[in-house]
Amino acid sequence: MKDFKQEKTRVDQADRTIYDVKDRLDPAFLTDSGITAEIVNQISKEKNEPEWMRLFRLKSLNTYKEIPLPSWGPSLDELNMDQIVTYVRPKSTMKAKWSDVPDDIKQTFERLGIPKAEQKSLAGVGAQYDSEVVYHNVRAEVASKGVVYTDIESALTGPYSEMIRKHFMKLVPPSDHKFAALHGAVWSGGSFVYVPAGVTVDIPLQSYFRLNAPGAGQFEHTLIIVEEGAYLHFIEGCSAPRYYVANLHAGCVELYVGKNARLRYSTIENWSKNMYNLNTKRASVEEGGTVEWISGSFGSHISYLYPMSILKGKKARMEFTGITFAGEGQNLDTGAKVLHAAPDTTSHISTKSISRDGGNSTFRSLVTVTENAKGSKSAVSCESLMLDSISRSDTIPVMDISCNQADIGHEAKIGRISESAIFYLMSRGLSEDDARALIVGGFAEPIAKELPLEYAVEMNNLIHLEMKGSIG
């Protein structure tokens, strides 16, 4: 058989032209860099928030100061919080029509394809620029079903204020970790979604987050409540132009999935390579409910990202499908966590990763099965492809099982394409190059197929594979 050593598979760097356009920095207001009680009070005052939220922020700040940096994962030594500006307010209030959004901001989102996607195939869109939501709209026919899709700050003082207060940072408390506490102190922007019982939102809602200011942080908060028997697909996308100073993203997503409800949460993360992406996402799933995570991680300099699902009701389910591309200068530590806390719950985690050009990809997972999760099942599968020997790929799964009536399986593999698979396809008439292309295309396909491509505007731009010869 041919010596496959010479030719390598190439995975081109994504074309970032449209993402790297920098708008002129012209904010209406921005805080000093760093994080102090004065800055936190300033943010709260700018937003005219209820007093309980201001006090919540200050308490979170104290918690942030007490908790040390994590002793595991990629190094955060170069992240200097004293140089991060935590609040940048653009010269625009929130609009419900794109024509009312200031031209420069509108053009940025047009370049990213957001208004077009909204017209074509979305039930509603929220667009955040730096620290504030600049556009929010939901189709009338969706709103008429009682679906609420609004920016979360408006919801703080409106008819849903009690609901927000009841749920806000209860699933992810500030004490969870240092950057959850930071989020609690300086959060700004984000969405609130409420889907009443029995309502199916047939087409997705999307939020898009754009961070334009260099050296700034984005700390949006997404809260979604899907009541009994309802269905929602929510998509989030993000990007930022590349700078030579660090940017920070410490967002928070809290999802409440009611009895027999279903929520699909898709993310295409394409932050620039100066971004520290320290995001926290968590879902609570009631009896018979299902949460589906679809996660594509393509950007950031350093990522810590482990969506967690708490299966608290009988027969609750979680599906997680993720793909990570780690290229030059990237250290992407991603994965998933699931807690089986009720009988007959099931979870399935399936991830793929590709490392190239010195990129570092780590898959980290935790499956916990408590003693009362009788009849529960969990399967974790992780596949990694390394395209050169200057990159790294690490797999660090943990299974913590305290129930003798559960079935748990885990498998992981790393390596090259199986020669017997190539042989099989060639025996079916494919050329060797076509056989390899088919296999590698199949490697990345599970995430691509889960996303509605016409909505996830960046996916087609980001996955571009060029096959030549073997994969090393």
Binding site: P70, T395, I396, Q405, D407, H410
Partner: protein
């Protein structure tokens, strides 16, 4: 000095409690010396001789439990056995350590210096019991070019004792090291192994069987570190947890840059018999080399009802069916343990434990 023993090569969330062995399990701080150093005085097969002292390069071979445990044993080992293998296989070297009232603490240091082309099998059997008994052992193996070293370690201590068993192996070109472990006793048992596959074409095979019950705590840290090209490792663990026991297994396949065309496989199967047992499994693959193949798999669960039904439909009682399935789980490891009477002794311990579990349930 780092006092974390059985440390995970790359740490994970601290809340999981798996990054290293809890300090509470460390041997109590007390005077251990029991008198003069006692070298091995058993019969040696043809081709095997004793070394007066351990060569420095072998003493420097790190083990799976980490530098604190290495120092704990090395600083005042009271039982030593430094073996030199220069020829082909003869009979195995059998070393038995027994805790009792007059010897409640043993620190044993072993070394196996396998010269090129040699072949040696060493069987370590740890037995006995004593109040607050401790049996700690460190085995350092230098498997030189094309040598074969088999180490069989059987731990059958009583419930009042703690066991710490650490192995470190350097595997040269074309050499092969096989580690077979049966861990059944002690109130706490910690095992660590680190195989450094340095030479091209080197191989490492590890097979472990364990059975915990009552309040036993077991902790494992096994690492196959591939540095040389075309090296191979296989690590297989089969275990049963009953009672209120708990166990952590950390198994790492570590591909270093330069180990092209190496292959590493790891798997663990765990059977949980009781609702209050706790299992934690941490199978790592760390990869800094492109052209390798690494796989790990773990499955944890209960008796398969269909298998039980099938066996009972063939006339076995439920207890007999369960015993058969447990023994089948352990057989791939037990088949590798010699001599036959030792294997039978282990099987009898397993059967007795199963009976006790059924009685307690």
């Amino acid at each position: 000095m780092n006092t974390q023993i059985n440390r995970l090569p790359v740490p994970t969330w601290n809340r999981t409690g798996v990054n290293w062995l809890d300090k509470k399990a460390l041997p109590p701080d007390r005077e251990y010396s029991q008198g003069d150093h006692l070298p091995y005085d058993g019969v040696l097969p043809h081709g095997i001789s004793l070394m007066d002292r351990i060569p420095e390069e072998i003493a420097a071979i790190p083990s799976g439990m980490g530098e604190w445990m290495d120092e704990f044993i090395l600083s005042r080992a009271d039982k030593t056995c430094y073996l030199l293998a220069e020829g082909p296989a003869g009979e195995p070297v059998i070393i038995t350590q027994t805790l009792d009232l007059t010897h409640p603490v043993i620190r044993a240091h072993y070394a196996i210096n396998a010269k090129p082309g040699s072949n040696i099998t060493v069987i370590q059997i740890n037995r006995g019991d004593a109040k607050d008994g401790v049996l700690g052992s460190l085995t350092q193996i230098d498997a030189q070019e094309n040598s074969v070293v088999r180490l069989i370690s059987v731990q059958l201590l009583g419930r009042n004792s703690q066991s710490f068993d650490s192995v470190g192996a350097r595997i040269g070109k074309g050499a092969r090291v096989e580690l077979v472990r049966a861990v059944l006793g002690g109130k706490t048992a910690a095992c660590g192994s680190l195989a450094h596959l340095e030479g091209q074409g080197g191989g490492y095979q590890q097979d472990t069987a364990y059975f915990t019950d009552k309040e036993q705590i077991y902790d494992f840290n096994d690492i196959a570190r591939h540095a040389g090209r075309e090296t191979e490792s296989e690590m297989h663990t089969a275990g049963v947890l009953a009672g209120s026991s708990s166990k952590i297994l950390r198994g790492t396949i570590d591909f270093k840059a330069g180990c092209a065309h190496s292959v590493g496989h790891e798997n663990e199967t765990v059977l949980l018999l009781s609702p209050s047992a706790r299992n934690r499994t941490v199978p790592l693959i760390l990869c800094g080399e492109e052209a390798v193949e690494g796989q790990h798999a773990a499955s944890l669960g209960q008796f398969d009802e269909k298998h039980l039904y099938y066996l009972c439909s063939r006339g076995l009682s439920l207890m007999e069916a369960k015993r058969m399935l447990v023994e089948a789980r352990f057989m791939p490891v037990l088949h590798k343990i010699t001599p036959d009477d030792l294997r039978m002794e282990i099987l009898n311990v397993i059967e007795r434990r199963l009976d006790e579990h059924e009685t307690d349930s």
